[in-house]
Amino acid sequence: MRCDAVRKTVEDGMARTPAVQVHIESCSGCKEYLRKWETLQSGLVAMRDDEPPEPSIGFTIRLMRRLENASPEFQFGPQFIDQIGRRVVYATLMVALMLAMILALPSSGPFRSSGISESVFVQTQVATLANEQVLGVDGVESGDARDSSADSAGKATPQARGSK
């Protein structure tokens, strides 16, 4: 029999079969190991005599008072879970709604994405300036300015062009 199996058998307090007994008698390592383990086990068993302390008077009352004063998560187990669960659901819905709004809104609207909006804004500014020139604000000839402004306007407002 293998040493480990023999030692386990004895440690577990199982009956020492003849094979186990023969092995222990013939194996000095197992003999020594088991002698030491049995000493330690006697010590551990002796520790059972060491009586644990008794709960002090009023232990339960103090505990109940502590529960009373504890934060809400200690108050009611299932209600706490219910509250947290509801908050998680509401928070998830809010986030989903906000995402949907961001994705669904048109790019020309007030919440347009910054990349497109900046170029549109610049082009609109250019168109505005060009219009001012056409209307004689800067004293520039109207023809060329109008053409370029129309192009810009066309680029800037593809939807407007399309909607026509």
Binding site: D4, R7, K8, E11, D12, Y33, R35, K36, W37, E38, T39, L40, Q41, S42, G43, L44, V45, A46, M47, R48, D49, D50, P52, P53, E54, P55, S56, F59, T60, R62, L63, M64, R66, L67, E68, A70, E73, F74, Q75, F76, G77, P78, Q79, F80, I81
Partner: protein
């Protein structure tokens, strides 16, 4: 170590009330199980002055988690699991902050241990020998890892069966047996180190 259980139907009713938010129903559960929890905590941590505070924390945790108790195991086993997990965390924190030394024993204590190791008496230990080997075992246990300490305490001091331990620790029976064997081996090795160092 036998602790009497409260009436199962009453206990079930208290648990049901706690789970529906009736805090007051927790008090009879505390009364019924406090001694058992005191015992397991004391045997695990071995610090008399800290036991009561730790047991309070365990019951607080148990109350906050009582919604998750589903009667798959007995309430006592479930509570033991909460207690053991809490003590495990406590022991790991303690162990990381303390330096473990091989201590000095009295010569007489050492002599008694040697005598018992080499020729154990038929009738068992007398009171002085019990004190000496108990002292030795306690010190070796204090040096053990939190895992070893827990499993050895539950088996050898609390005298739980392997099946009970597997329920408390939520492990398979075969795993408990393997861990027990390894913990015992390590304790014997530590004992040998102590003997060599004398």
């Amino acid at each position: 170590m036998v602790h009497s259980r409260p009436d199962p139907s009453k206990e079930a009713e208290w648990i049901r009330l706690c789970q529906s938010g009736e805090k007051e129903a927790f008090a009879p559960l505390v009364d019924a199980y406090q001694r058992r929890v005191f015992s397991i905590v004391y045997h695990l941590i071995r610090r008399r002055n800290d036991v009561e505070d730790i047991v309070q924390e365990i019951f607080m945790k148990a109350f906050s988690a009582i919604g998750s108790y589903n009667s798959q195991s007995s309430f006592g086993t479930w509570l033991n699991r909460v207690a053991v997990n809490h003590c495990y965390d406590y022991l790991r924190r303690q162990r990381s902050s303390k330096v473990t030394y091989f201590w000095e024993m009295t010569e007489e204590g050492q002599r008694q241990i040697e005598a018992h190791t080499h020729s154990p008496k038929e009738g068992g230990l007398d009171s002085e020998e019990k004190l000496a080997v108990g002292d030795l075992a306690g010190k070796l246990l204090a040096r053990a890892s939190a895992e070893d300490r827990m499993i050895l305490t539950l088996k050898e001091i609390e005298d739980r069966s392997v099946d009970e331990i597997s329920e408390i620790l939520n492990l398979k029976v075969s795993t408990v047996k393997v861990r027990l064997h390894r913990a015992r081996k390590r304790m014997v090795k530590d004992f040998e180190k102590w003997q060599e160092g004398r």
